[in-house]
Amino acid sequence: MIQDQKKTTLYAEHVKLGAKMVPFGGWLMPVQYTSIIEEHQAVRKNIGIFDISHMGQLIVEGKDAHNWLNTMLTNNVDKLEIDQGQYTFLLNDKGGVIDDLIAYRIGDAKFLLVVNASRADEDLDWLEKHLDGDVKIESRSANFGGVAIQGPRIAELFPDLPARNHIADRDFEGIPISIARTGYTGEDGVEVFFHNSDADEFWKAVLEKGKAVGLKPCGLGSRDTLRLEMCYPLNGSDLSPERNPIEAGLGFFVDLTKSEFIGRDVLVKTKENGPRERLVPFKMKDKGPPPRPHYSVFENGERIGEVTSGTLSPSLNWGVGMAYVSAPHAKIGTEIDIEIRGQKFPATIEKKPLYKKRSTADTAATTAL
């Protein structure tokens, strides 16, 4: 029910701007303000701002925080300098994904974990259940909000940007913020965290200053199309407790040289034997209906898998998606069919990402999700 959904600290601002609010991960969130396609283009061409206050923010602190996190998360915390972040996974005992998140090292023995809204409680329960040594974990989600500000004109808004995947404390027009050079759109950009009490003022200040660079407030609709063009996974769609990161093609964020972390044994086996299924991006061959989650995937009449994410890519104006298909069929270039309302439509398995910037001026490249 709509009434049961939580509201972020920026809720009133969204309503004021005429956003269409929808339930997402237990929260009432803007899906769009004017148009998903326009908001998508704003981020690709200029800049967009997204409320991400629904995301969970967990603080992990203590003498043993570093070593303990290395037993809980797949990526290697040893690689982090102070004020650096990394994309990583929290796995269950079967190697399945509880959540995908960014872990920032914000002090010598202090970490900020930014997790999915829908998994925030579960993540905290799981982590607390496994606490070991001199480590304290605490959610600051109720007191902190956040926004993602993404697009090629980011440096015009924030001239003093931290290095890619790094986080820094800054002052924006007198408002104290933490600013991380990370994102979920494939564009250069930042994710900014602040106290709830500063949220409205910061939001308004960015909107005002952003006018000069074509900034648009953007909803979850364009957040989804932007991430899908980059083949960034969405937990709950492309990731689940039954899928592990190797199957999802995200082994880069798993460090199997670590001697111990939850799920490691299963991932080692998956890597040795090869996954049964793989997550692959695909593109429709012809203009037609866009692919959608749960549509069946075929090769030569044999059912080989299922779509997990699909849409019309606003950048390509073309149907694209991601699907889990049985591993022998998962080669790039394989011709497949997507079944849409009983009819088969041809598609091709592609390389990641589905959308690439043509501009050579795109030097900032992408952030690690």
Binding site: V31, G221, G288, P290, L312
Partner: protein, 126 residues
């Protein structure tokens, strides 16, 4: 939200314009706003017979696919092929160039089952 007085409506957000023994059908302004940017339309074939409330077309936005229903029993005599090249017409002109199809009615009395503008306005909370 625009709800023209001279049209009839269904609970499933189609509008109906009577044209002699035929009806022209589209989706309402409210429906297009709820769907968001329409990016694909699957139109019914001409001569297709349909019962009232039978799904005969699909309108797809960036986010989702939605069925469009025949408002009354009849047969399709025309489909708006312009939408195949420009599905966004549904967002821009839901009551005009964004119409979906024309049906010949089996029984004009069936139109009595549809809502008038006031009833539809009430339904959408306008």
């Amino acid at each position: 939200m625009n709800v023209p007085d001279d049209l009839l409506y269904t609970e499933s957000h189609e509008w109906i314009k009577r044209e002699g023994d035929k009806i022209r059908v589209g989706i309402t302004d409210h429906a297009q706003a709820e769907l968001t940017d329409v990016v694909f339309v699957e139109l019914p074939k001409v001569d297709r017979q349909a019962n009232a409330k039978e799904a005969i077309a699909v309108v797809e936005s960036v986010k989702a696919a939605s069925d469009i229903y025949a408002p009354v029993k009849g047969s399709v005599v025309e489909a708006n092929k312009t939408l195949e090249a420009d599905p966004g017409l549904i967002n821009r002109e839901p009551f005009g160039q964004g119409w979906l199809f024309v049906m010949k009615l089996d029984n004009p009395d069936d139109l009595k089952n549809l809502k008038d503008a006031a009833a539809y306005k009430k339904q959408i909370g306008g």
